[in-house]
């Protein structure tokens, strides 16, 4: 059952590469339904039968490679399938006027999906490297699609950061294999000790993954890449792609290398997160372009993910569990909210023909649905109740109180205010009466898919129980 989730996107990647142009679009919906169905069935299977692993080619790890599906993995698989489906429906209509680009978009989209699923399921350090490279190259290809100079520059910076990051990660993997003789993650988490080799390996991997996750101060490549790409690409990149490298980072710190990391190192990671929240919010507050605002908001929101490390390392088990749950919820809520935000902003830009925030006047009257979607996702990003973002921040704050780390409490609570400061820039302008531009008609599905994503981000506030209950199903010890 488990490898089906890899086979479907890979097969559709090939189909959309080889079939005649008009078919590439037709197969998207069936593919998405299959993918979503497979993810849900796997969710149910894991929920009823518990975590499973799968020895590929019938070779047991460490000789072969295993896939591992536990509660956390299937949550991420379902998230990926759902967000990808809504972004793809948006892309079907959005790319209508990009004749050449859409032909290459779909193979890259399916490969991107395959690599994400592969990363969530991987249980082997080197396999994660190959997955990261597949993810990186397909994401870079999508950023460069329009072949315009700024997009090409953004793609180059992104590619260089991704390549350097994966080599640093690979160097760490080389040290781990040299020191322990195996690459299988479940085996390593029982063997790895806190010696200097492990510490250097964890440091190398962390630098590489921080660069790929665009954590301050290594975030320089993200705003141009996410802000400059086509709207559905931006949504996929911000909602899903950066989360993959964060997932591996969390795996390294809390599982594989748990004995090698120190409390002070975890506090340093938290400090990077605080820097990301401040710097990202400040830039989002200053930028004149609406898509760059959303991209800088991603830089800031990624900072909250980093709170996991100080809140979960060196504290009581209850506090660590809450930190972990809060981080997962934040990851999910941010994925939905940010995808909704990029899609709604993309529709606005498409309709008015530019992205200058100062000239957004009057869009509220013409495109209420897109602006409503933006507003709902902003509620979740700010952490106002009821929303997934609120529940996530609530758990993180409680965890900070329980472990007595008041400085992180201030950072998390203050971050919400900073978010409010930059999202209200959009509302302030868009509700003014003056209409300074012609508004082109856009397909209603564009606004609808954004709205649906935003509703899910809000709805997560009422249904946080589900992902958290699923998450509890781990294979023992692993986060």
């Amino acid at each position: 059952m488990i490898p089906i989730l890899l086979i479907i996107p890979l097969a559709f990647a090939i189909l959309s590469l080889l079939l005649p142009r008009k078919w590439t679009r037709t197969i998207v919906i069936p593919g998405l339904i299959l993918q979503l169905g497979a993810a849900l069935i796997l969710c149910l299977t894991i929920y009823t039968e518990g975590p499973q692993d799968y020895a590929l080619g019938d070779w047991q790890a460490p000789l072969g490679i295993s896939l591992l599906a536990d509660g956390f993995t299937v949550t991420l698989l379902a998230l990926t399938a759902l967000i990808a489906a809504l972004c793809a429906i948006y892309a079907l209509f959005f790319l209508e006027r990009y004749n050449r680009e859409q032909f290459y978009f779909w193979p890259l989209f399916w490969f991107l999906l395959a690599s994400l699923n592969g990363i969530w399921l991987a249980a082997d350090l080197f396999n994660l490297y190959v997955g990261l490279e597949l993810l990186g190259l397909s994401a870079v290809g999508m950023v460069a699609l329009t072949s315009e100079r700024p997009a090409l520059k953004a793609a180059l910076d992104y590619l260089y950061a991704a390549l350097f990051g994966s080599l640093a990660y690979l160097a760490g993997v080389a040290l781990i294999y040299g020191a322990y003789g195996t690459l299988a993650i479940p085996q390593l988490s029982e063997m790895v000790a806190g010696n200097i080799t492990t510490q250097v390996a964890v440091a190398l991997m962390s630098v590489g993954l921080l660069l790929k996750t665009a954590i301050f101060p290594l975030h320089f490549w993200l705003p141009p890449a996410h802000g400059g790409a086509l709207a559905p690409v931006s949504a996929l990149l911000s909602a899903l792609v950066v989360k993959a490298s964060f997932y591996i980072l969390a795996l390294i710190w809390l599982d594989v290398g748990a004995l090698a990391v120190t409390v002070s190192a975890a506090q340093l990671m938290g400090a990077l997160g605080a820097g990301a929240i401040l710097w990202g919010s400040w830039n989002a507050f200053k930028t004149p372009q609406v898509k760059m605002l959303v991209a800088y908001s991603t830089v800031a929101q990624l900072g909250y993910l980093m709170m996991l490390f100080p809140l979960a390392i060196g504290v009581s088990e209850a506090a660590a569990t809450m930190a972990w749950q809060g981080t997962i919820l934040h990851l999910l809520a941010h994925a939905f909210a940010k995808a909704a935000m990029f899609l709604s902003v993309g529709t606005l830009v498409l309709a008015i023909g530019h992205g200058r925030i100062a000239d957004l006047g009057g869009v509220s009257q013409h495109m209420p649905m897109a602006l409503f979607a933006f507003g709902l996702s902003a509620v979740s990003l700010m952490g106002l109740p009821p929303s997934g973002g609120f529940n996530a921040k609530w758990l993180l704050l409680q965890s900070a109180i329980q472990s007595g780390q008041w400085h992180w409490f201030v950072v998390i609570a203050g971050g919400g205010l900073l978010t409010a400061a930059y999202v209200f820039r959009i509302f302030r302008v868009s509700f003014t009466e003056t209409v300074r531009h012609e508004i082109q008609a856009t397909h209603p599905m564009l606004q609808l898919s954004a709205l649906l994503l935003a509703f899910i981000a809000i709805g997560l506030g009422f249904a946080s129980e589900w992902p958290l209950r699923l998450m509890d199903l781990t294979g023992g010890g692993t986060p």
């Binding site: 490279e133 190259l137 080599l167 294999y177």
Partner: protein, 94 residues
């Protein structure tokens, strides 16, 4: 101290040199060369360190082969984007 550990140590020196080149160079072509050099250093460690312990090991050798193919593909893509960027009037040494 065996020859395999030497390979790994030379790999460490190559990585350090290419980290210097990658960060200090401005020209995107030089950065790409630094990336390729760094790859070689990582591969030397990947094969050298395990073989230092128990002789010839096919697993890291196979991993390195995979790594090389991935690095070649990434380099080719980088070159294509770089050339397209320069053709559209971009500056390769910002």
């Amino acid at each position: 101290m065996g020859v395999d550990l030497w390979y790994a140590l030379v790999g460490a020196v190559i990585i350090a040199l290419s980290v210097f080149a990658f960060i200090s160079a401005r020209h995107l072509m030089k950065k790409l060369l630094a990336f390729n050099m760094m790859g070689s250093g990582v591969f030397l460690i990947m094969v050298g360190l395990p073989q230092h312990q128990h002789g010839v090991d096919a697993v890291p050798q196979a991993l390195v082969l995979t790594g090389i193919v991935v690095a070649v593909s990434a380099t080719a893509l980088a070159l294509v984007i770089l050339r397209r960027y320069v053709r559209s009037g971009g500056d390769p040494a910002p």
